[in-house]
Amino acid sequence: MKIFKVLKPGFFTTVQDLGRFGYLKCGVPISGAMDTFSHTAANVLVGNKPEDATLEVTLTGPELQALAKTQIAVTGGAVSLNINDQKAPMWQTLEVQEGDIISFGKIENGCRAYLSVRGGINVPFVLGSRSTYVRGGFGGINGRPLKSGDEIEGFTVSLLDVQYVLPEKLVPKFTGIYHVHVVLGPQADMFSKKGVNTFFSSQYTVTPESDRMGYRLEGPAIQHKAKADIVSDTLLPGAIQVPKNGEPIIIMRDAPTSGGYAKIAVAITPDISLLGQARPGDVIAFSKITLREAQQKTREFYRLLGSLSSMLIKM
């Protein structure tokens, strides 16, 4: 069933789900929504499962025409949203009629917004996921961002008879200053004590050379003991690698699956989701926690995602 026609694609809008797992050994990155929390919230607000596909909107939003009556939700970075000429709120179920125009302004806080539709976006599974991986040219809509004229398929499902809103206390605020918890390693021993101190006591700015593959940061150089290079090994989202110039790069979800720079630390899972909202100019400060503390926070994050649908308020 055709659900949307793309009138304007926005800066970079892709279909994403929770990710493509199990193919790192084939060189295929995990991909998936950069902000897992907002993606999941968008889905549960229209009665979908967390793994259903949404549209990930980057910095400037698209303009879509609804081709059928349906329900949508928009979450993530703060963006002005209109249905026809009416302002519409984020973080709640919205009903749209056939012919309605859904338009986004610029994302003001954060970097990415998520648009879910009742039943989920219907694109074929590629290697077990609907996520778009642009570098590889597969997933989503022909492996590329949306373009004008695309018609997006949905599923034929009955609409919800209630509408929901996410409790205010669960709505994240993206302030442009991110405190990211990390676990040291796997190559922290390649950095001098001074280098490790610099990493934890400095603020780093996200540069314009930042996208779904990773964020280049600018700030005080982190000193290696000697070399910066290693024999290439596996990269996962959240890994923080430091090339010879000392400025860290945070690996994100579409990154190459292997790399040859020493990794000082890895961001914890909930903070990788938060980092999905960091945009050029934003500031990041890192703090160290133990693996045990990290896994405690990660388990809490998974539990929150799992129980989100039961925490919604009926309107």
Partner: protein, 246 residues
């Protein structure tokens, strides 16, 4: 060999590092442990990724802990049985047209070493390579090791676009770009063979532990083969299997 190091990789993975160098002996251990762990189906392990000299194990922290996994993996890793793991390694011949527009750096590599382009081709296609790992981009095989006579440093400034099928050299490594990508390897030729197809299972032609030999072909042969591979997706000319002692 000293016993491997176990290192946490964030809150969802760990790394078992067998050494710091590119070596056949180390990579054989990596691949053997990877296969054994896959077969062991340990609770909580979601994915096992072999690299040159380490194995990354991605796990679900809701189902297991770092300490528990280290204990379970050490038990398997220290078992003498690991030395006789039979790998289903295969051998492939990959045709390449060397030089010209297909291999813009062939002349440079030759000059760098005081060789003729023909000698570079003979050296590059004159030996068998091991697939040490697949990484970087979908289906990219890291092959080693190239003869010292043609080992060449990367470009100082990487190209923004390297065409699909390009075969490059970076120091003692050689590899094939399965799709167009930015890259700094010295490109000496191109293959019409597709190494990756997202619609096939598994999506890659090669896996860590496989053996690859390159064969020099003409431009005409390249074009004929390219027509076939474009129609059919992937697959090289498969040779013999069972090269676990390579």
């Amino acid at each position: 060999m000293s016993s491997p190091r176990y290192l946490p990789f964030g809150d969802t993975a760990l790394v078992i590092e067998f050494g710091k160098a590119i070596s056949l002996e180390i990579n054989q251990k990596v691949v053997a442990l990877g296969k054994t762990l896959e077969e062991a189906k340990i609770e909580g392990i979601e994915e096992i990724v072999p690299t040159y000299r380490s194995l990354l194990v991605r796990y679900n922290p809701l189902k297991t802990t770092y300490e528990k996994l280290v204990f379970q993996i050490k038990d398997i890793e220290s078992s003498p049985k690991l030395d006789i793991v039979r790998l289903d390694s295969r051998e492939y011949t990959i045709p390449i047209v060397y030089g010209g527009e297909y291999g813009p750096d062939l002349e440079y590599v030759a000059r760098y070493h005081g060789l003729t382009p023909k000698q570079v081709v003979e050296l590059h296609s004159g030996k068998k390579y091991r697939v040490y790992m697949i990484g970087f981009i979908a289906g990219f095989p890291y092959l080693g090791v190239v003869p010292d006579e043609i080992a060449t440093p990367r470009l100082e400034k990487p190209r923004l676009k390297v065409p699909a099928g390009s075969v490059g050299i970076a120091e003692k490594q050689t590899g094939v770009y399965p799709c167009e990508a930015p890259g700094g390897w010295r490109i000496i030729g191109r293959t019409p063979i597709k190494l990756f197809n997202s619609l096939q299972q598994p999506p890659t032609l090669l896996k860590a532990g496989d053996i690859v030999k390159f064969e020099s072909i003409s431009e005409e042969e390249f074009q004929i083969l390219e027509e076939v591979t474009t129609k059919t997706g992937f697959l090289a000319f498969e040779g013999i299997g069972g090269n676990e002692n390579f």
